[in-house]
């Protein structure tokens, strides 16, 4: 009985906040999505139109393109790159080699810099660096990789990689530092035992380090997917969802429909669709991938 009370006391404060700040607005949003509420008519309220908004979303010719952008470019590509680079950085930072060189503290501090840079500044700077006359082009030309400068944000083939670059730069430190602290809690004895058994570095990594890191990687992966899928600022500030509608993603579509076209009801419906897609993904993910790792130990 006492432990039940204890559990309740531990969970109650967090859940109170979560209900107020998530459940309530989500519920309101759901009701809004069945209306034609306009930003200009907020005090009047909107008229009930049932599933019309949802029908319109699915029938709009652009939906497939926007969904593709959001899923493949904004989410899968950027998360995959982030996880790989973050893992690599964490391993590098934790390596004995760096310890010898005493570069660990500097490296950790340097990681904080991109993370603490506000997104709009990150976008401005990277747009500048990726300009045809900017540092990146100059470097690539100098190294002979390019023979002509590339206008990364203006070229339809390179604009997505450019956006992904900004996102990765701004957010990989989170992954790297999280994995680093996980790495640091791997007990040394395991490595020593492996060594005694004749394992090399790669085998140690594969059979000791990676399993230890798996829970963290899976959690970070899932959170990054949610966060990237719903992300608005990077695309909006870098290209305004252009050229044309090339880089339009679901979140920028929500913004345009809500704050340019004033259609709050419709944009709420898009928001619900986004949540649905992510919920389905999350459910599948947890079932297939994370079940073994996380829920077992729970």
């Amino acid at each position: 009985m006492r432990s039940r009370l204890f559990i309740f006391a531990m969970l109650a404060p967090s859940f109170t906040l979560l209900v107020l700040f998530y459940a309530y607005p989500i519920f309101k949003n759901l009701t809004m999505s069945f209306t034609d509420l306009s930003l200009l008519g907020m005090s009047r309220g909107g008229n009930w139109i049932g599933l019309d908004n949802y029908r319109e979303i699915l029938q709009s010719g652009d939906f497939g393109h926007i969904l593709f952008n959001t899923l493949i470019w904004l989410t899968v590509t950027s998360v995959a790159i982030r996880l790989l680079m973050g893992l690599g950085m964490a391993v590098l930072l934790n390596s004995t080699a760096l310890k010898r060189l005493r570069m660990q503290t500097i490296a950790r501090l340097a990681l904080l810099i991109p993370w603490a840079t506000p997104p709009i500044v990150a976008v401005v700077i990277w747009r500048w660096l990726l300009d045809p006359q900017g540092a990146v082009n100059r470097a690539l030309l100098g190294l002979g990789i390019l023979d002509q400068p590339v206008a990364f944000f203006a070229n339809v083939r390179t604009v997505w990689p450019a956006i992904v670059t900004i996102m990765v730069w701004n957010t990989v430190p989170l992954i790297a530092l999280s994995l680093l602290s996980s790495l640091q809690s791997v007990p040394e004895e395991l490595y020593e035992a492996a060594e005694l058994e004749g394992a090399n570095q790669w085998q140690a990594f594969r059979y000791i380090t990676l399993p230890f890191l798996m829970p963290a990687i899976l959690v970070l992966g899932l959170m990054s997917v949610f966060w990237s899928f719903n992300n608005f600022v990077y695309v909006w500030l870098a290209t305004g969802a252009g050229p044309g509608t090339l880089t339009n993603v679901l979140a920028t579509e929500v913004y345009i429909k809500a704050f340019v076209d004033f259609r709050l009801g419709y944009s709420s419906a898009i928001g619900m669709v986004m949540a649905l897609v992510m919920a389905v993904f999350g459910a599948v993910y947890l079932r297939l991938v994370a079940r073994r790792q996380l829920e077992e130990s729970l």
Binding site: L39, L40, G41, M42, S43, R44, V124, R127, W128, D131, P132, A151, F152, F153, A154, N155, V156, V159, T239, G240, A241, G242, P243, G244, T245, L246, I256, F259, V260, D261, F262
Partner: protein, 427 residues
Amino acid sequence: MFRSSRKVLILLAASMTMSGAAMAQSTTITFRFNDTEAEIRGAIDEFQRQNPDIKVDLQRIGWRDARNQFLREAAVGQGPDVVHSAQVWVKEMGDAGATLALDSLLQQSPPPNQFTDFVAQDLAKNSAGKIFGLPWTTDTWAMVYRSDLLKEAGIATLPQTWTELRQASAEIFKKTGKAGFGFPAGSSASGAIWFLATSYWWSNGKALIVAKNDGAYDLGLTAEDIAECMKYFKSFVDAGDNPKANLAASDAHDPSILQALVTGNQAIGSMPPNTYKQVLEAYATANPGKPLPFVSGPFPKGSVTRSSNIGGRMLVINAHTKYPEAAWKFVKYMSSEEVFSKFYRTQFPAQRSLLKKVDFGPELKGFAEQLEYARSWGAYASGPIPIGSLWNLAGRGFGMVLSGQRSPDEAAKELLQEVRKLMPQKS
């Protein structure tokens, strides 16, 4: 006892007079001004000096979010008393019930030059014809040129027509290798290409939205008109005299365009006066003592006239304000000649009589000239489709064409379709 009660009475009387005076003392109104404080501080201080019973609290929000924020606040009965608003928002806000109707205030205590002296009056009214904002500042875009690059390319006079502009730009690129007319070719929802396209269509006597005689609204452009305009601007990008990199720039004040003008890598640009002033300033800082090789000129002529849209800001009063009289006093003062001549010098007043008195200076001559040809949004603003939506659709359509993703004819048809979808259906 008698004495002490007299003392008490005196004390009571004294305290009542004092609190009476205190109550007559300050009302505090909030003013949300969305440019930099330094521009407006002098005017506010002077107002408070002249009206010791009114205190003004200054707030600021970036323009990008200003309208949504105010609409949200007004919907729950909050928000500042006096709000700095874009011209094209006033009708919407009035219709939404977020702002106070000014007709009675205008009648009781009109501004010194009377309401009829103000420009863009039609934008200040809501659908029912009631006035919801007082026009405050005005400006319009114009063309700006690097006179040294023009000379280098052998161009003796400023281009007067759209064709001449195209030729001049190509000449400059050919003879000097520098960009000609480097306009922002990006597709953000509030991109600059909208203003250029509008100027092009209006100069040919056409408009996207027109009001018909029976009060209904219709599209005033055909797919051919749109395609022609798209092809025109595309020709700059295809030939290279507008560098492809400008596809990434959506604003006239994009730093890459401004830098190109300042460092002499671009000869022609189009922008509002404050952006131009920033260019001049940046050049002066980087080249102290040298004369400014810049000149401004009006937009090119089309088949009918030259044109551009007259932009500007208005002051609106929150519908839920507790102090409408104090707010109106403040709004009136802000529109006075004193404020524009002594304190708020970074913008032009939105009153014809005051505009005539403004000294634009030699570099901004082109803007003064263009102001005479500028027209307000008119049917675009009073029509059924939010200007923001038209702006967004046009920007994206042009973006598709300029980046080569669609042909001008296809994109023009699509744009027309999209705009038609937004028109209210006739039953």
